[in-house]
């Protein structure tokens, strides 16, 4: 029983990271019909931003304040990944609208370049980010069940980001414009919305959230230049499973893949577990080929 609960907790923890990564993907795919394979590299950028922030603190700021660096690192990761995303959108992505497969290939190339860039700046070996002292240890909820503060922190962080995204998309003017462009680009443009600006802002925000995901991942282990590739395909599976167009689809997709994946891997082993998750996803798509939550549309394609 304890073990099952712990697995459930681990599953939710994995899901929360997948969700952070998949949020940006689902929105850019739904909004611009662009598949961004370099999204994994934004995670990597976020992780290295955290690493650099930590280096800055240890060398320039008195050790008493070291505990606070992580809060700042979250903002820095977001900002750096946001800028990278914005630049990528205005320099490359905007030429690839409506060509999802081409955008997939081009952004894959960008990802390769970014990875190699990180390798030449920070070196190929993994680097470790030291977690602040207040995240060490865990919460003992029952005998034998200790929930690490780090994972709890990540889940809380994801909840905050999700709430912020919800407020942004459904309660702000910018979010309303974004939804309008997503539902009917031409009509939105006719009503005076600058779809160009909406596109680039949304893409940058999605990238920034990937940066936050990278920052969170530094708590779970050491980081390397190819960090993003571990997560990116799973994150895309979340998009496929959850469907595009609504936030809630990604939440369910991430929970589904994260929790079932953790349990399958616990019951069998890491490699068989992955196979089983894949089979479950294919089986699920037999029932709902477009994913869990889709936008209603009368167009055929």
């Amino acid at each position: 029983m304890e073990v099952q609960l712990l697995q459930l907790f681990n599953g939710i923890s994995v899901s929360s990271i997948l969700l952070l990564i998949a949020l940006g993907l689902a929105i850019t795919f739904g909004l611009m019909n662009v598949i961004n394979m370099a999204h994994g590299e934004f995670i990597m950028i976020g992780a290295y931003s955290t690493y650099v922030t930590q280096l800055f603190f240890t060398s320039n700021i008195p050790a008493d304040y070291f505990g606070y660096y992580f809060v700042l690192a979250i903002l820095v990761s977001f900002a750096v990944a946001f800028i990278f995303g914005f630049v990528l959108e205005i320099s490359l992505i905007r030429f690839l609208y409506g060509r999802p497969l081409d955008s997939l290939l081009a952004t894959w190339g960008v990802g390769l370049v970014l990875q190699q860039l990180a390798r030449s700046i920070f070196g190929a070996p993994n680097v470790a980010v030291q977690a602040p002292a207040w995240l060490n240890g865990g919460l003992e909820v029952m005998d034998g069940i200790i929930l690490p503060y780090k994972r709890l922190f990540i889940i809380a962080l994801v909840a905050v980001v999700l709430l912020a995204m919800y407020l942004f998309i459904y309660r702000s003017n910018a979010g309303r414009r974004m939804r309008a462009v997503m539902q009917n680009r031409e009509m939105a443009a006719c009503l005076g919305i600058s779809t160009r600006r909406v596109d680039s802002m949304t893409f940058a925000i999605g990238s920034g959230i990937a940066g936050i995901a990278g920052c969170a991942i530094t708590l779970l282990g050491s980081i390397g230049p190819s960090l993003g590739t571990y997560y990116i395909v799973d994150a895309f599976m979340v998009v496929v499973l959850g469907g595009v167009g609504k936030l809630i689809g990604s939440v369910f997709g991430a929970l589904g893949i994260g929790v079932t994946g953790t349990f399958f891997e616990y019951w069998t082993n890491a490699s068989i577990g992955k196979v089983l998750v894949f089979i479950v996803i294919i089986a699920f798509l037999q029932w709902k080929p477009k994913g869990l939550v889709t936008m209603r549309t009368r167009s055929l394609d």
Binding site: S103, L105, A106, L112, R119, V233, F278, I282
Partner: protein, 369 residues
């Protein structure tokens, strides 16, 4: 009307002669290439075969598969198992005894026989493609969704092959082959024969695919690519055509994988990973998707550049590869063959106006006289 028929005939003769010169050149390559270059070329030609396979599905039916590394790898593993069992003489392979196995597993046993192993190298990838394709095309899961699923397939198969070390050799893969049908693999004359076999199979696959895309089914495929719903409303079932071409394409990839093992002497999960799978796509994109010859050109060119660049500057190769993806997609979406056709297309009208000017002069001269 007569003129265009004549022009197309001329074009046909020109193309056929160019192709036959290239094939002749490839067949004669063993006489003037060094052993090292020949084995490199043999590897590139094996890659060209898988590129044709991918082009068949991506270029002609618009379905992008990032899973061809897996089909290639499955074919390669079939050949690898066959060669390994021949090397050990039917006894337990070395890596199995290291992992604590005392008996050859049941699914390894049939691979000791060539009549099973060689067809299996084509049929097993095709069967996997059938299973994945059946459950996706049937539900009209296509475009990006299908592409992501094929990429997930790559991750799963590679982790499976790494994880099941006792059956697959894990990360090291399967190597240590000695002979094929009793001929030593390290012998240069065997290598030359295997090279020639590769050339013949490349030509055979090329002709087969050309016939396929020019047939009625090929036309339906292109119709599905360009307007799937319209093709459906006319009464064709797009999913069965897509499924068929996906299986053929996977089988071709398996064949290429078998040849690859013969030339390289090792198969490991890295050869079928995500990066090799997407590199195949780049070859086709660079050469020109939707033209079979483009796939061949792309595969040979990119791999020649790779072996040249990565030997001298291993770091810059990835920068180069990344940049190539962006450049090809943004600036030359129809690849080198498309670029060539554009240039020819621009020159042609000029030539024609010159010819017409000459023709009208002659006509005038005729009417006056």
């Amino acid at each position: 009307m007569e003129l265009t028929a004549k022009a197309s005939l001329q074009k046909k003769i020109l193309l056929t002669s160019v192709y036959s010169i290239v094939v002749l050149f490839l067949l004669l390559a063993p006489t003037f290439l060094s052993d090292f270059r020949l084995s490199l070329l043999a590897k590139f030609l094996a890659f060209a075969i898988v590129a044709i396979g991918l082009d068949l599905i991506w270029g002609y039916s618009g379905i992008l598969s990032l899973g061809h590394g897996v089909f290639f790898g499955l074919g390669a593993y079939c050949m690898g198992m066959f060669l390994k069992l021949e090397a050990t003489g039917g006894k337990l392979p070395d890596f199995m005894s290291w992992s604590g196995l005392s008996e050859i597993p049941w699914f390894w046993k049939p691979f000791a026989h060539a009549w099973f192993a060689l067809p299996a190298g084509i049929l097993i990838p095709a069967a996997l493609a059938f299973i994945l394709g059946f459950f996706t095309f049937r539900n009209r899961i296509r475009g990006v969704y299908f592409t992501i699923l094929t990429q997930a397939l790559v991750i799963i198969v590679t982790t499976l092959f790494i994880g099941q070390q006792q059956y697959t050799g894990g990360t090291n893969g399967i190597t240590g082959y000695q002979t094929i049908f009793g001929f030593s693999l390290s012998n240069q004359s065997t290598k030359t024969v295997l090279y020639l076999v590769t050339v013949v199979l490349l030509v055979a696959v090329f002709i087969l695919c050309q016939r396929l895309v020019r047939s009625r089914s090929g036309r339906v495929l292109r119709a599905v690519r360009d307007a799937e719903n319209r093709a459906r409303f006319i009464g064709y079932n797009p999913s069965s055509y897509q499924l068929f071409v996906f299986c053929v394409s996977a089988g071709i990839a398996g064949l290429a994988g078998m040849l690859f093992v013969l030339h390289v002497g090792i198969i490991s999960p890295t050869t079928m990973g995500i990066v090799p799978s997407i590199e195949i796509v780049l070859w086709v994109a660079l050469g020109g998707r939707g033209t079979l010859i483009g796939a061949v050109i792309g595969a040979v060119l990119v791999n020649a550049a790779k072996s040249g660049l990565s030997e001298t500057y291993p770091d810059s190769w990835l920068f180069f590869l990344g940049a190539l993806f962006v450049i090809v997609v943004v600036f030359m979406p129809r690849g080198l063959v498309g670029l060539f056709n554009d240039i020819v297309g621009k020159l042609k009208p000029r030539m024609q106006t010159i010819m017409q000017a000459k023709g009208s002069k002659m006509k005038k001269a005729g009417s006056n006289g």
